[in-house]
């Protein structure tokens, strides 16, 4: 009988995969036991969702499962990540706010058909204290989520309709303008003020550099060295 099986496709399952499967089934068993005792856990699972477990005490399995969750979400499935093995907070008042169920959402933002559709829609705000430049192409009409890319640049995306609505540039003068000096000209159109948390769209910027006597002296010396060349 076993000889027949070796010719069957899909028959062979490596031991590592088999072990992971058994572990995932144990997590499902554990979750259902807990959820049937406390149906609030079930209420958090949307109907029709694919649930994938992240065990706190098995980081390697959690990593493998998370990779599969991303693949399933990219394939269009509604994926829920369920953390298993979280210790419950001691304080009963904190327990309802413990997060163990996370809906995984794939954002695939698209570039808008037209930038700056109306006159005055181009909004540029420079936060001098934190050296952050915000650019919005739609007059700040949409609430946006900021997605960091790299090199100090973040995309601002309309949360409701995943379309790019602008950018956030961190370290604008200290880094980006050093690399691309022509960007400094945008400051001519900029409003100079602190950016609000809503405008930052969830981005946590680095802390503002502290003014020190040393860096002020350095700035003064750089100016003093440059000015004679400019007025010559």
């Amino acid at each position: 009988m076993m000889d027949e099986l070796t010719d069957l496709p899909d028959a062979a399952i490596d031991r590592v995969t088999a072990e992971q499967t058994t572990k995932n089934l144990a997590l499902l068993e554990r979750f259902m036991n807990e959820a049937l005792a406390d149906p609030v856990l079930l209420d958090r699972i949307p109907n029709g969702a694919t649930i994938i477990f992240l065990p706190v005490d098995d980081p390697e399995l959690a990593r493998q499962n998370f990779s599969r969750a991303l693949a399933r979400a990219q394939a269009g499935k509604q994926v829920v990540l369920q953390v298993v093995g979280l210790p419950r907070p001691d304080a009963p008042a904190w327990q309802p706010s413990q997060i163990g169920t996370l809906a995984l959402e794939m954002l695939t933002p698209r570039w808008p058909a037209q930038l700056v559709p109306e006159p005055g829609d181009l909004t540029i705000i420079y936060d001098r204290e934190r050296d952050i430049l915000l650019v919005d192409y739609f007059g700040l009409r949409q609430t946006a989520l900021a997605i960091p890319l790299s090199g100090g640049v973040a995309l601002r995306i309309d949360r409701q309709d995943p379309e790019v609505v602008g950018h956030i540039l961190v370290g604008f003068l200290s880094d980006l303008v050093e690399r691309a000096p022509h960007l400094a000209s945008v400051l001519r159109r900029a409003e100079f003020r602190a950016l609000t948390d809503e405008e930052l769209g969830g981005l946590i910027p680095p802390p503002a550099p502290q003014a020190t006597t040393a860096n002020e002296r350095q700035a003064a010396e750089a100016l003093a060295n440059e000015l004679p060349r400019l007025i010559a």
């Binding site: 009988m1 399952i13 088999a18 499967t21 089934l25 259902m32 149906p39």
Partner: protein
């Protein structure tokens, strides 16, 4: 309290296999359920074994390639919540054997 019907699938990791769970709850009481192990074969999920409460009692169905029952047996008389978790425990212990036997029934 109105009854709540809920369905979800649990990705268990073997080549796309899943366990599909559907249950009807009346508060904490489970009044009906289906727990079904499905193998990802030939680009589709194929039910291999199913535990459910159709016919008024919890039982296990062994299925053929077309999803028809070829054999069934009644589960011990316990409440449906216990039967549901026992169904998952059984799949946890026996999934490889169920899968292998199912492959043998491939037309």
């Amino acid at each position: 309290m109105p009854q709540v019907r809920q369905e979800f699938e649990s990705d268990i990791g073997t080549k796309g296999d899943i366990v599909r769970v559907a249950l009807v709850r009346d508060g904490k009481r489970v009044v009906a359920f289906v727990v079904q192990y499905e193998a990802w074969l030939d680009e589709t999920h194929r039910p291999v074994v199913r535990f459910d409460t159709a016919h008024g009692f919890a039982h296990r169905d062994i299925l053929d390639w077309q999803g028809q029952t070829i054999r069934w047996e009644r589960m011990p008389d316990v409440n449906y919540a216990t039967a549901l978790t026992r169904a998952i425990a059984d799949i946890k212990e026996e999934w490889e054997r169920y899968r292998t036997d199912f492959l043998r029934r491939r037309p």
